[in-house]
């Protein structure tokens, strides 16, 4: 279980508990948090679950695989260090306290 804070582009904060084994994307979906679309349902096929990870968390997350890296490169206003696809981030206890920010729009 991890407490994750999702911040919408307009600044609205959502702090929710997400179970281990789900993805950060599924945590947003299951809590009806707007700003993460995830059209492909988590297949790393659409790049519509893009977020900016809080700078303090960048180094603590598992590295991006090449597929995620390439998809992110074409997301809306990607940040080379902070951008991640939330469907590729598996929730574990280590992610407790994670803070992510949604972009102005997805692709």
């Amino acid at each position: 279980m991890a407490k994750i804070t999702y911040i919408e582009h307009n600044g609205t904060r959502h702090e929710v508990d997400v179970a281990n084994g789900l993805t950060v994307m599924e945590g947003a979906r299951d809590n009806n948090i707007p700003g993460i679309e995830a059209d492909c349902g988590g297949a790393c096929a659409c790049s519509t679950c893009h977020v900016y990870v809080d700078p303090a968390w960048v180094e603590k997350l598992p590295a991006k695989d090449p597929m995620e890296e390439d998809m992110l490169d074409f997301a809306y206003q990607p940040d080379p260090t902070r951008s991640r696809l939330t469907c590729q981030l598996k929730v574990t206890d280590e992610l407790d306290g994670l803070v992510v920010q949604m972009p102005e729009k997805q692709i």
């Binding site: 707007p34 349902g41 297949a43 096929a45 659409c46 390439d70 074409f74």
Partner: protein, 404 residues
């Protein structure tokens, strides 16, 4: 307060009701689905879920509690018997009558089944469409068993990939001269043929199925080339048909699906349609798309229009498929292409195929090459093109063709 009824609780129905509430709709909303479970994602059914890598709850598009929280009456396991567009009500199979002010049809599509006359109703013969289909067949997927897959489209190929990964003996037959005949160029078919054969799939093209035989349960298949194959079970992936029967019986216009205008209105007042079941105007013609992105995007536009937005739906078609370690991403529609350009990917076993009509780029199939897919998608969605010479040159920077 008005009454909105949405018939069909798949991807389109779920997206539609969520969008209605997200846009502030305060009407009573009822979402009716035949299946006994809340709306779920279908793509993993022939991929991760079939492989056993994804729990059932993770398929749900929203947690079950979402619908009650949003004041949406979700009626699962519920069939609709008839729609009366004049009286503005639907009649359930139980006889219950539900009045509506606005109705949306998101009835989806159904797999084409093999006729009973050729053994289609034998035990051990499956289609891949719903959760119940896949739950029924997972017990068959044990190592060494012999599966025949009928149909070399994406569903058949994805099922073949799962079966091969699980160590089954896989034979796939496609009656057309090649796999993916209807949906992709020979170059893309070649790529996937090689991929499947390298994983041990016995892939036979230009070979149809004459009949399945067995006592109650399938035991063998007779093929059009005269050969006979002993099998343990069969998966049929020979296409889907839009579920239009309810609409047709209600007198709505049907044209390769429930006919809608650009905003998603059917021929009957205050009745809308979206997703696999709907055909809509597209670039001077009319199309129907069988895909999740279309179901989502069209349903969201229809939801907005039910609330008076008056938006035309501009489809930006895209698709994906997972087979073994290859991710196929497709952007655009290739209908009418006259040539295909190959663009090698950065790594062995990756690359993309670019479909052109004259100088206009129509579509791209990208095999584990997300950069090619994404750049083409951005350009096509913006109505642009990329010169074929640039597409063919792996060193050419294609990003310059994107409008920012």
């Amino acid at each position: 307060m008005g009454q909105i009824i949405v018939v069909g609780a798949g991807q389109a129905g779920a997206s539609l009701v969520a969008k209605l509430r997200a846009q502030g709709c305060e009407d009573a909303i009822t979402l009716i689905g035949e299946e006994p479970v809340p709306p779920y994602q279908r793509p993993p059914l022939s991929k991760a879920y079939l492989l056993g890598e994804m729990a059932r709850e993770r398929l749900y598009l929203r947690p079950e509690s979402f619908y009650a929280e949003q004041g949406i009456a979700l009626r699962t396991g519920t069939g609709v018997a008839a729609i009366d567009p004049e009286a503005r009500h639907v009649t359930l199979t139980t006889g219950e009558v539900l009045p509506f002010d606005q109705l949306a049809l998101t009835t989806g599509s159904s797999p084409i089944r093999l006729p009973a006359a050729i053994g289609g109703d034998l035990g051990g013969v499956y289609t891949v469409r719903g959760l119940a289909d896949v739950d029924a067949m997972t017990g068959e997927f044990s190592e060494g068993r012999r599966v025949l897959i009928v149909g070399g489209g994406y569903i058949g190929l994805e099922a073949a990939a799962v079966a091969a990964k699980k160590g089954l003996q896989v034979t796939l037959v496609e009656m057309a001269p090649r796999i993916l005949q209807r949906v992709a160029a020979p170059e893309t078919a070649d790529f996937f043929r090689t991929l499947h054969r390298s994983h041990g799939v016995d892939l036979r093209e230009g070979v149809g199925l004459d009949r399945l035989t067995g006592e109650g349960r399938v035991a063998a298949a007779e093929l059009s080339d005269g050969s006979r194959l002993e099998v343990d079970f069969v998966i049929v992936g020979i296409g889907i048909r839009p579920n239009t029967a309810l609409a047709e019986a209600a007198g709505l216009a049907i044209e390769n699906g429930i006919r809608t205008d650009a905003q998603g209105r059917t021929s009957a007042a205050d009745i809308w349609a979206a997703g696999d079941c709907a055909s809509f105007p597209y670039r001077g013609g009319r199309i129907r798309l069988e895909s999740v992105p279309n179901a989502i995007d069209q349903a969201e536009v229809v939801a907005a229009n039910m609330l008076g937005a008056g938006q035309a739906y501009e489809a930006t078609p895209w698709f994906w498929s997972d087979q073994y370690d290859v991710k196929l991403q497709i952007t655009g529609l290739n209908a009418g292409y006259d040539r295909v350009i190959r663009r090698p990917g950065a790594k062995e076993g990756t690359g993309s195929h670019w479909y052109y009509a004259g100088e206009q780029l129509l579509s791209v199939d990208a095999m584990s090459d997300p950069r090619a897919y994404m750049v083409a998608k951005k350009v096509l969605d913006a109505g642009g093109s990329i010169p074929a010479e640039a597409a063919a040159d792996p060193d050419a920077d294609l990003k310059i063709y994107m409008r920012r």
